[in-house]
């Protein structure tokens, strides 16, 4: 079943069409990659899907419902979670508080219950604490739950960000360059983690990545974006041999400044 479908989606900044005619679909429990050279518009596409940018035109259907023009928090409540390319943790808060904030939308007690510390407050807070610790232990961060997020090593910050996104109970998880800045071993571990998350949490994952080995190994389907347009779509084997992709990708990697299109 299709969980997300975009039609003719686009966003322009002034005269620049950052993303144009962006059409993708994601089936349930799929692991899909979105790749493309720097500046291709991948993060812009993510920002439109999560409501950070309002699309200039086009349509996004999530679970059969249009989410265009919805606020980011509403889209999160509908079930799209995300991480950021440049990690956006709550750096001065403890690790566990980072996760607890993500549980916020499911909290049922009101402001007044919180102020008088009612029974409902105590029960729910304890539940949140337990759930957060449980989630952190999955990611091997439970022993560090009292540390400030900024003091974690880079790889653990990435893991915490994924944990935090999962705490919002997403049906679709968007990962923006999860392996950025990781060494090959860490990347390899991350690869297994991503696959494992999909199976354990039973969710759909769309990821942006530059690390080709990760994308080719993990993703079942890949979209290639270049200059704001999707230039190829298929399984990893097809993408590897697609001449357009090789031109867009390898061309740039070999001589970044020469290529003109």
């Amino acid at each position: 079943m299709t969980i997300l479908k975009t039609t003719n989606l686009g966003r322009s900044f002034g005269g620049l069409k950052a993303v144009d005619k962006f059409e993708i679909y994601l089936d349930e429990r799929e692991l899909v990659g979105l790749i493309g050279p720097n500046g291709a518009g991948k993060t812009t596409a993510f920002n439109m899907l999560t409501g950070v940018y309002v699309p200039s035109y086009g349509e996004i259907q999530f679970c059969g419902e249009s989410i265009v023009g919805k606020k980011p928090y509403e889209i999160t409540q509908k079930g799209i979670g995300r991480t950021f390319q440049n990690i956006r943790l709550f750096k001065d808060l403890s690790v566990i508080d980072n996760v607890k904030i993500a549980y916020h939308q499911n909290v049922k007690y009101g402001v007044f219950s919180g102020i008088i510390k009612s029974k409902k407050y105590k029960i729910e807070e304890e539940e949140i604490t337990n759930k957060s610790l449980e989630l952190l232990s999955i990611f091997g961060l439970d022993t560090k739950h009292n540390e400030l997020a900024r003091n974690l090593p880079y790889g653990e910050q990435r893991r915490l960000e994924i944990a935090r996104a999962l705490a919002t109970k997403p049906k679709l998880l968007l990962l923006d360059e999860p392996a950025a800045g990781m060494n090959p071993q860490e990347t390899h571990k991350l690869m297994e983690l991503i696959r494992w998350i999909r199976d354990k949490f039973d969710i759909t994952i769309l990821l942006i990545e530059h690390d080709m080995s990760l994308v080719m190994n993990v993703c079942e389907r890949i979209y290639v974006l270049d200059y704001g347009k999707i230039i190829a779509h298929g399984n990893p084997e097809e993408i590897k041999t697609n001449p357009k992709v090789i031109e867009a990708y390898l061309g740039e990697e070999v001589s970044p400044n020469v290529k003109s299109k």
Binding site: F90, I101, A102, H104, V107, E125, L133
Partner: protein, 321 residues
């Protein structure tokens, strides 16, 4: 159990001081100073909720204090309600608080989409508008001020109100709703992505802060007994802001300590009014040089954990031990 003892101890302490004041063992002048301290504790913690916890830089607190002061004074002087004095006073405080909260809500809704400096300027303008409105409002005495307000406030009143309000604010911060406010301060985009309705929580913090400032205004009116728009200038906002920054943005115990300290210094320096501002300024400069995060940073010290080894630990929803 320990919490109960602490609460009883704290209340008894207040009653004890009040008895000393009644019996003239503590000079009535010091009684007024102590009451002022309690009032500034309310003001600094309520501003801290907006500036330190939610991270919205507001400079309009004097406006809310003015609204609270004037409206509560209207209740006690212009209406003759058939209730005992303390009921009238509670009603007056609530009316002042609610009037300020409504103003906070109305101001917050359009201005809170502004960020940083722009919000500061917008709220600054709001504070001045309020002052000028009272300056021209015949019903409350306009430029000659409002006179003959009964002295309902004693130290115990202000002390108990301060404790209640501080408790409310601290409990709010430690709830999920408070965490939502903190997440806005930390990173608005991430907060929204985590499902936090940032507009709602910004306005909520602003409205709460305004409500408590309004109550503090009510205390002020019934302590000083004369209201004049000149008492609610920009300098009052700055004075409160100073307490918040000095104590540490986001630290309630810091705000309380700074409110007490600065009120004391202000009183000590009352003899030389000009020097007061110079010392204030020097303190601010010194603080920014040596301790830019404020006296307490973001740490909290509470009576409950003062004697345990975890004292001073960060208390924003720290997990249960």
């Amino acid at each position: 159990m320990k919490k109960l003892y602490v609460t009883i101890g704290v209340v008894l302490f207040g009653i004890f001081i009040q008895i000393l004041i009644w019996n003239n063992i503590i000079n009535p002048y010091y009684g007024i100073v102590l009451t002022t301290m309690a009032m500034f504790v309310i003001l600094s913690t309520s501003l801290n909720l907006i500036n330190g916890v939610t991270g919205q830089f507001s400079l309009g607190h004097a406006g809310f204090v003015a609204i609270g002061a004037y409206f509560s004074a209207i209740v006690t002087t212009r209406m003759s309600l058939p209730f005992p004095t303390f009921v009238i006073f509670i009603i007056a405080l609530l009316v002042g608080g609610i009037a300020a909260a409504i103003a906070g809500f109305l101001i917050g809704l359009p201005t809170l989409r502004l960020k940083g400096d722009y919000l500061a300027i917008a709220t600054l303008g709001f504070g001045e508008i309020i002052r000028v409105l009272f300056l021209n409002w015949e019903y409350v005495g306009s430029a000659s001020g409002m006179w003959g307000i009964p002295k309902y406030v004693n130290f115990l009143w202000a002390y108990v109100l301060a404790i209640i309000i501080v408790l409310i604010i601290v409990n709010f911060i430690n709830s999920s709703h408070g965490r939502a406010c903190i997440s806005i301060r930390e990173d608005e985009i991430a907060a929204e992505t985590m499902g936090v309705n940032i507009t709602k929580y910004k306005v909520m913090a602003f409205t709460f802060g305004a409500f408590f400032a309004g109550i503090a205004g009510g205390i002020y009116a019934h302590l000083i007994q004369i209201l004049h728009p000149q008492n609610f200038t920009f300098m009052l906002s700055v004075q409160i802001l100073l307490m918040v920054v000095l104590g540490g943005l986001g630290s309630m115990s810091g705000s309380i300590a700074a409110a007490i300290l600065l009120t004391l210094i202000a009183e000590v320096l009352r003899g030389f009014a000009e020097l007061q501002m110079i010392i204030y300024s020097l303190m601010l400069i010194g603080l920014m040089l040596f301790r830019p995060q404020g006296l307490f940073g973001r740490k909290e010290i509470s009576l409950n954990n003062l004697f345990s080894k975890n004292s001073g630990s960060i208390s924003f929803g720290s997990p249960k031990k």
